[in-house]
């Protein structure tokens, strides 16, 4: 019988080993690295240099704030675009629901970087969109979108949209349709039924979607480097440069921890505001 008792532990063991190997250890190593001084040739010595964090925040606060702002804008955009999509597929998709879902996922069969680069063609000054608008005189001939904040935010929203649509769809699809019927029986109009029944039920999906878009968008570096111009650098680009280009591992690690801390703090206060049970539901 002791065999049976240990079964759950045996089953959970791979997950623990996985987490320890690929999460706890690298995080520990990175924390250690973030407190060292030196360079790649002479080596990095452990000096508990807290100044690395001061330098990281002091030098790059602008990029950190910008990343959270871009991530926030992209997430909002994803909700505005993604919610109606999920709603439509869940309630009006009929027999073709899975086809529509596949269509949403289809761009994912193309490499992330290529998808982003194709936006360069789309947003070019004389490209499909701007060129057409210019030729019919809707916008001034020197208008430009590419290499600006809106271009980066649009790229981010486009690339992470499915991460918003799918969780919202999952919640709406599981919703008992009788809830809506009951609302109508109780004389709720369509707007009332949506605001007081459907929306509250779907919030856990929105919550999950926000987590799944806000975290990757605010730490992304591809969109900013492909679609951004001057003053559009995100913190992901800085980390990439510090780590891969300058080989300044201590500063790169310090920025990473600052970003991680900010995101965690943000998520926890967000979870608190919405109620923790919703965080749990997300994983159900």
């Amino acid at each position: 019988m002791s065999n049976r008792k240990s079964t759950p532990y045996v089953l959970v063991l791979p997950a623990w080993v996985w987490l320890a190997m690929f999460f706890v250890v690298p995080i520990g190593g990175m924390l250690s690295l973030s407190l060292t001084t030196g360079n790649v040739v002479t080596g990095f010595q452990q000096t508990f240099e807290v100044g690395n964090y001061v330098e990281a925040v002091g030098t790059y606060w602008e990029q950190i704030v910008r990343s959270l702002f871009y991530g926030g804008c992209a997430t909002l955009l994803c909700i505005v675009i993604g919610y109606p999509m999920a709603y439509w597929i869940a309630f009006r998709g009929g027999a073709h629901k899975s086809t529509y879902l596949l269509l949403i996922l289809l761009p994912f069969f193309v490499s992330f970087v290529l998808r982003t680069i194709s936006w360069r063609f789309l947003l070019a000054d004389n490209g499909v969109v701007l060129g057409t608008l210019k030729s019919i005189g809707l916008i001034p001939s020197d208008a430009a979108v590419l290499n600006s904040s809106p271009a980066v935010i649009l790229g981010l929203a486009y690339n992470f949209l499915p991460f918003m649509v799918l969780p919202i769809y999952a919640v709406l699809e599981r919703m008992d349709p009788r809830l809506v019927e009951a609302a109508h029986d109780l004389y709720a109009g369509r707007v009332q039924a949506f605001l007081r029944v459907i929306l509250p039920v779907s919030l856990p999906g929105v919550f999950a979607g926000v987590l799944m878009t806000f975290i990757p968008t605010s730490s992304d570096y591809v969109n900013s480097s492909v679609l951004g111009g001057t003053h559009n650098t995100m913190i992901g680009n800085v980390i990439q440069t510090q780590y891969l280009v300058n080989n300044n591992y201590p500063i790169a690690s310090a920025i990473t921890f600052v970003l991680m801390g900010l995101l965690l703090a943000g998520i926890f206060s967000y979870a608190r505001a919405l109620g923790t049970e919703r965080v749990m539901e997300v994983h159900a």
């Binding site: 790649v40 040739v41 990095f44 010595q45 990029q63 001057t230 800085v238 440069t241 891969l244 300058n246």
Partner: protein, 422 residues
């Protein structure tokens, strides 16, 4: 950490197993992992943090005799190069395989020198195979670091007879690698200014044109710290190779001014051609061969100029990492690429400056043999082009990059990354 199958146990690996590791950022988590798990408490983890840093990664590169003694051909090699640095049929590699029987796995993996260095550095520090037996990097900071760290194989010049016979003088004794101990050039090029005459209605002759507010939001600059620094320095009338900290600061100030005036549209790693062609950019810092290729292949009419203040001459060098699995095959290919006919074929496609001056003759011979064809015309054009065969005068106006030790590089890079990563 690395689950690649290993063909054989390398001495580096054995050393790593039998001795406490000192090199490599990856050895840090190695040490801290063990101690963390053993102690299993926060206090112990803190102790572990204090116990480890990353040791110096410098190693001594083996002497030519020590390294090359007993090394043999393996029959295949992996060659890491930049995109568009060989035609899509890989003609020269096919010729190499025909001549020697050695198969080449060609990878266009080098997109940006610094980033590529960042990818291979931890592997080299650990004594691991990088996935390349031969690779091409410019004569910049990364090359200096690779040499300083002892990561490159010292070349056995007795195996490089073509190089001895055909390499141009300018390329055989350089500041970045005196005596070509570690590298020989693959190709050279000029960083100058390219512009699109469809949008720019005057002749561009000067670096100062890149600061002209008339081109607001239509100027492209390069994101590489050294490339952009050179242009800031030349704008201020300073020769990059002799520049000092004060010069760098002044150059950074000029570049910041240019950026904050809204003149710069974006900083490009190497993808400036497409925006220049479609009008997103009117003018940009550019590499000579890219413009030549674009015009020759797409029929565009982009202009390239070596500005009056001067421009920079860089050299992409071939080198063998010390963990190479096929150094003999690699050095044979290096030598093969210096055969004039092979070098000519390569240059005909990439349109950069070849280290083999004799190629100019080969072009003329080929053009004569072709008679009256399009190719003959293209070959003659190229043989006459100063973008491919700079004249003595032009070489005088082309400057070298500044050579810096690792600790100065950091200061230099952070000054200029503050410009490009705003």
């Amino acid at each position: 950490m690395n689950h690649r199958p290993r063909p054989h146990l390398s001495p580096e690996l054995l050393r790593g197993l039998t001795r406490r590791r000192q090199r490599g950022p990856l050895s840090v988590p190695g040490i801290s992992r063990r101690s963390t798990l053993q102690a299993g408490g926060v206090a112990a983890a803190a102790l572990a943090l204090s116990a480890c840093g990353v040791g110096g990664q410098q190693r001594d590169s083996e002497s030519v005799e020590d390294y090359w003694g007993g090394k043999e051909r393996t029959g295949s090699l992996r060659f890491g190069n930049w995109p568009l640095y060989m035609d899509s049929e890989r003609t020269q590699l096919q010729q190499f395989t025909e001549a020697t029987g050695i198969e080449v796995d060609y990878k266009e993996d080098v997109q940006e020198a610094a980033q590529f260095f960042g990818q291979i550095q931890p592997k080299l520090a650990n004594g691991d195979d990088t996935g390349y037996d031969l690779m091409v990097l410019p004569n910049g900071f990364e090359l200096a670091k690779l040499i300083e760290l002892g990561y490159l194989v010292q070349l056995d010049h007795t195996r490089l007879n073509n190089y001895a016979d055909y390499a141009g003088e300018v390329y055989s004794n350089t500041a970045y690698d005196p005596g070509n101990r570690y590298t020989i050039p693959y190709t050279s090029g000029i960083t100058g200014i390219a512009y699109n005459p469809d949008y720019v209605d005057r002749e561009i002759t000067s670096i100062a044109d890149l600061w002209d507010p008339a081109f607001e939001g239509k100027v492209g600059m390069m994101s590489d710290a050294q490339e952009i620094a050179n242009f800031g320095l030349l704008y201020n009338g300073v020769n990059p190779a002799d520049s000092t900290l004060e010069d760098w600061e002044a150059a950074a100030a000029a570049l910041r001014e240019q950026r904050d005036a809204g003149i710069v549209r974006a900083y490009y790693a190497q993808d400036f051609i497409q925006p220049l062609t479609n009008g997103d950019l009117w003018m940009t810092m550019a590499w000579s061969g890219d413009i030549y290729q674009q015009n020759a292949e797409e029929g565009t009419n982009l202009k390239f100029v070596v500005p009056e203040e001067g421009a920079t001459l860089w050299t992409d060098c071939m080198m063998i990492p010390y963990t190479s699995q096929a150094p003999v095959d690699a050095i044979e290919l290096m030598n093969f690429l210096y055969e004039p006919e092979i070098a000519a074929g390569l240059t005909e496609y990439i349109a950069y400056i070849t280290p083999v001056p004799y190629v100019q003759e080969v072009f003329r011979e080929w053009a004569a043999a072709e008679g009256d064809s399009e190719r003959a015309e293209a070959l003659t054009d190229m043989a006459e082009s100063s973008l491919v065969f700079p004249t003595e005068d032009e070489y005088q106006r082309l400057h070298n990059f500044v050579n810096l030790a690792a600790e100065d590089q950091e200061q230099f890079a952070s000054l200029f990354h503050a410009i490009t990563q705003s």
